[in-house]
Amino acid sequence: MGILDRIREVVEGLTVHGQSTAILKVKAQIDNLFMIITVGDMLGVPILPPYYSLRLLPYVFPNIQNWKRYMLRERDFTDLVT
C-alpha cells in the first residue's frame, strides 16, 4: 500500500469512519425491527401469523444468524461510549 493510500485511509478514519458506523447502527436497528415483526417468534415474540413468516423466510434467511447474535448479545453502558 502506497503512502498516499495510507494517508487517505487515516483521513477516512479521522473523518467518516465514525459517521458511517453510526449510520450502519441506525440502519441495523431498523432492520432488526423488521426482523422482529416478521420472524420474531424465533426469539419468542410472535407478532405476524406463522403463515406470513414462512412466506417471508426465504428473503430474511441470510440475516437470521447476525440478527439473533445482535439482538441477544450482552449490552453494557460502556458500549454506549463509542
Binding site: 487515516v10 478514519g13 458500549d79
Partner: protein
C-alpha cells in the same frame, strides 16, 4: 538552539519512537504474543454493523479522533502555567512512554481476547456486579464534571477571542448543510465536503477580513463600569456575569439539540465538518514548534516555577505530586481511552497485530499534540490564563512560520479549541442521555428530553460559579483514576491467563495512589474554602455579584462531589487490589 522549544519537542518525539519500536513491540510479542492468524472478533462475529474488519490506517485515524480533544491541549498548558514547562514536559514524555500507550493498547488487546467486550462486561466477569455498578456511577459523575469544565473552556475562548463565535457558527452551519446534502439530496460525499468547506472558509475569511464580523466583543453584555467598580480586568472572563450566562445558554441549546436529534441530522455531520479545519490546525502547530530555531521564537517561560503552591494563596495549585499528574490527563494517560479502545476499535481490528499501531500509535500521536501544546505556551512571555493561552501561543508559532497576519491564525485556533470542545461535549451529553435511559427506563430521568436537561443544569451551575481550574483537577482525578482502574483490571486479566502483569500493575498502582491523593487534596481545598466562606480565585466575582453564600454552596457541593468520587474510587481500588492478589495467588 536550546532556548527554543524545538529540541525538547524533538526529544519527546524520538523517545516516543524508541518506546514504540522497542518496549511496546517487546510487550506485544512477548507478553500478549499477538498472532495475525488468530481470528479477531471482527472476523469471528462479523455482522457488518459493529463487528467487521477495518484497515489499521482507518482505525488509527478513528482511534486518534476519538481520544484527542481538548484534554491534551488544556491540561499541559495549565500545568506549564502552574509548575513550569519542565515538569509538564517530563510527565507528558515519561507518562506516555511507560503508562499511556500501555493502557490504550492493553485495553484493546484485553477486549480483543474477550470477544470484543467493553470495560463494563470485563469488569463484571473479573470482579463482579458491584464493581461494575461503581464504574457506572463513576462514569456519570465524570460526564457531569467534564461537561462543566469544557463549557467553561469554550466560553472563555468565545469571550476572549472575538470572532470565534461567528466563525464557529459557519462551521456548524456547514455541518448541517453537509448532512442535508448527503442524506436528503444524496449528493456525492466529496462534493458535499467541498460545499461544507466552502461555507467554513467563507466564515473564516469573513471574520478575518471584516472587523464588524468579529462579534460579539469581549464581555459584550456587561457594562465597563461593572469591571472598574470591582477592579476586574475587562479583557478577562469572570464567572457569574451576564456574558457567561448568555454563552452558557447558547451552549446548552446546542448540546440539547445534539443530544435529542437523530445523529445523522446534526451531530455526525457537524463532527465531520468541524474536524476538517482541526486536522490542519493540529499539524500546523506541531510543525511550527519544530521550526522555532528558524522562526526565532525562544522559550519565555520558566523551566520550573513552583513545586508547591499554598492552596490559600493560589487555589489552582497544590503540591507537584499529585496535582501535576492529574492536571495533565490526556497526552500522558487518560482513562477515557480505555473505554474507546475496548469499545468500537477492538470490534473492528482485522488482525491482532494491528492493536499496537492503532492503540499505541494513536496514544503516541496524542502525546505529540500535548507536546505541541506545551511548546505553544513556552514561547509566551505573559500567557493569559485558560485555553486562551493556547490560542495565543499556537497563533504566535504558526504566524511566524507562515508569515501571515496574526488575525488569521487567531481565528483558526479559536475555531479549533471551540469546535473540539463542542464536538466532544455534544458527544458526552448524548452518552449521558443514553446511560440515563439505560438506568432509569421508566422514570422521567430516563426520558430522552429530560435527562440532558438534568446534566446541563448541574454542569451549567458548576461552570457559572467558575471554579473551572479546580474542576479540571477533579476531571483529571476521575479520568486518571479510571486509567488506574483500567490498568489494574488489565493486570488482573493478565494474571488470570498466567502472563506477566508487572508492566500494567506498577503503573496502575502508581496511578491509583496518585489520583486518590489528588482527589483527597482537592476535596480538602474545596472544604477549606467552603468552611472559611472564601471564594476560590475567579469566584470572587460571583461572591461580589450574588453574595458569598452562593459560592459557599457551590464549594460545599464540589467538596461533596470530591468526597463521593474519593470513596467510590477507594472502594473500586480495594476491589481491584483484592482481585490482583487473588489472581496472582492462583497464578
Amino acid at each position: 538552539m536550546l532556548n527554543t522549544p524545538a529540541p525538547y519537542i524533538l526529544l519527546g518525539l524520538v523517545l516516543y519512537f524508541l518506546t514504540y519500536r522497542f518496549y511496546a513491540r517487546w510487550v506485544d510479542k512477548k507478553i500478549w504474543e499477538t498472532d495475525p492468524n488468530r481470528p479477531t472478533p471482527s472476523r469471528l462475529y462479523f455482522d457488518g454493523v459493529e463487528y467487521f474488519p477495518v484497515s489499521k490506517y482507518v482505525l488509527f485515524g478513528y482511534q486518534f479522533k476519538s481520544v484527542a480533544a481538548l484534554g491534551p491541549i488544556v491540561g499541559p498548558l495549565t500545568a506549564v502555567l502552574f509548575f513550569g514547562w519542565l515538569p509538564a514536559l517530563l510527565w507528558v514524555i515519561f507518562g506516555n512512554m511507560f503508562i499511556g500507550w500501555a493502557q490504550d493498547y492493553s485495553a484493546m488487546m484485553m477486549s480483543v481476547r474477550n470477544e470484543g467486550r467493553s470495560m463494563g462486561p470485563i469488569t463484571y466477569k473479573l470482579l463482579g456486579d458491584r464493581a461494575r455498578k461503581i464504574l457506572l456511577v463513576y462514569l456519570i459523575f465524570y460526564l457531569i464534571i467534564i461537561t462543566a469544565v469544557f463549557e467553561w473552556v469554550i466560553i472563555d475562548v468565545l469571550n476572549r477571542v472575538p470572532g470565534t463565535f461567528t466563525a464557529t457558527l459557519f462551521v456548524l452551519f456547514g455541518g448541517v448543510i453537509f448532512g442535508q446534502l448527503i442524506f436528503r439530496m444524496r449528493m456525492d460525499v466529496l462534493l458535499a465536503t467541498l460545499v461544507a468547506l466552502l461555507i467554513v472558509l467563507v466564515g473564516y475569511f469573513t471574520v478575518a477580513l471584516i472587523p464588524a464580523a468579529q462579534w460579539p466583543t469581549t464581555n459584550f453584555l456587561d457594562s465597563p463600569g461593572f469591571f472598574t467598580q470591582y477592579g476586574f480586568d475587562p479583557k478577562l472572563t469572570y464567572p457569574g456575569t451576564f456574558t457567561v450566562a448568555f454563552w452558557l445558554l447558547v451552549l446548552s441549546i446546542l448540546y440539547y439539540i445534539a443530544a435529542t436529534t437523530p445523529m445523522p441530522k446534526f451531530l455526525l455531520p457537524t463532527v465531520y465538518v468541524g474536524y476538517l479545519p482541526s486536522i490542519i490546525a493540529l499539524v500546523l502547530v506541531l510543525l511550527a514548534a519544530l521550526v522555532t530555531p528558524i522562526t526565532g521564537l525562544t522559550i519565555q517561560q520558566q523551566a520550573v516555577k513552583n513545586l508547591y503552591v499554598d492552596p490559600m494563596a493560589n487555589p489552582q495549585g497544590g503540591p507537584v505530586w499529585p496535582i501535576l499528574f492529574v492536571t495533565i490527563a490526556c497526552g500522558a494517560i487518560s482513562g477515557w481511552h480505555s473505554l474507546v479502545s475496548s469499545g468500537l476499535t477492538s470490534k473492528q481490528l482485522e488482525y491482532e497485530t494491528d492493536a499496537l499501531p492503532v492503540g499505541g500509535g494513536a496514544m503516541f500521536t496524542e502525546g505529540a499534540v500535548a507536546l505541541s501544546s506545551i511548546a505553544a505556551v513556552m514561547v509566551l512571555s505573559q500567557p493569559p490564563a485558560g485555553a486562551a493561552a493556547y490560542v495565543q501561543g499556537a497563533s504566535l508559532l504558526t504566524t511566524k512560520m507562515l508569515q501571515v497576519p496574526p488575525i488569521y491564525m487567531n481565528i483558526l485556533y479559536g475555531i479549533f479549541v471551540t469546535v473540539m470542545g463542542l464536538i466532544t461535549s455534544m458527544l458526552f451529553v448524548r452518552v449521558f442521555r443514553l446511560i440515563m435511559a439505560e438506568l432509569f427506563e421508566d422514570s422521567p430521568l430516563g426520558n430522552k428530553y429530560i435527562s440532558p436537561i438534568v446534566l446541563l443544569i448541574v454542569a451549567g451551575f458548576l461552570a457559572f460559579v467558575g471554579s473551572w481550574t479546580n474542576l479540571w483537577v477533579f476531571f483529571g482525578g476521575t479520568n486518571q483514576l479510571l486509567a488506574g482502574l483500567a490498568l489494574l483490571l488489565i493486570a488482573i486479566y493478565l494474571a488470570s491467563i498466567k502472563k506477566p502483569s508487572w508492566y500494567t500493575l506498577i503503573p496502575g498502582v502508581f496511578m491509583a495512589i496518585t489520583t486518590l491523593a489528588a482527589l483527597a487534596w482537592e476535596t480538602y481545598v474545596y472544604l477549606l474554602y467552603a468552611l472559611q466562606n472564601k471564594p476560590i480565585g475567579v469566584q470572587a466575582a460571583v461572591a461580589k455579584l450574588y453574595g458569598g453564600a452562593v459560592v459557599q454552596i457551590s464549594n460545599f457541593l464540589s467538596a461533596a462531589f470530591g468526597a463521593l468520587l474519593l470513596v467510590l474510587g477507594a472502594v473500586m481500588t480495594y476491589y481491584l487490589f483484592a482481585g490482583v492478589a487473588r489472581y496472582r495467588q492462583k497464578q
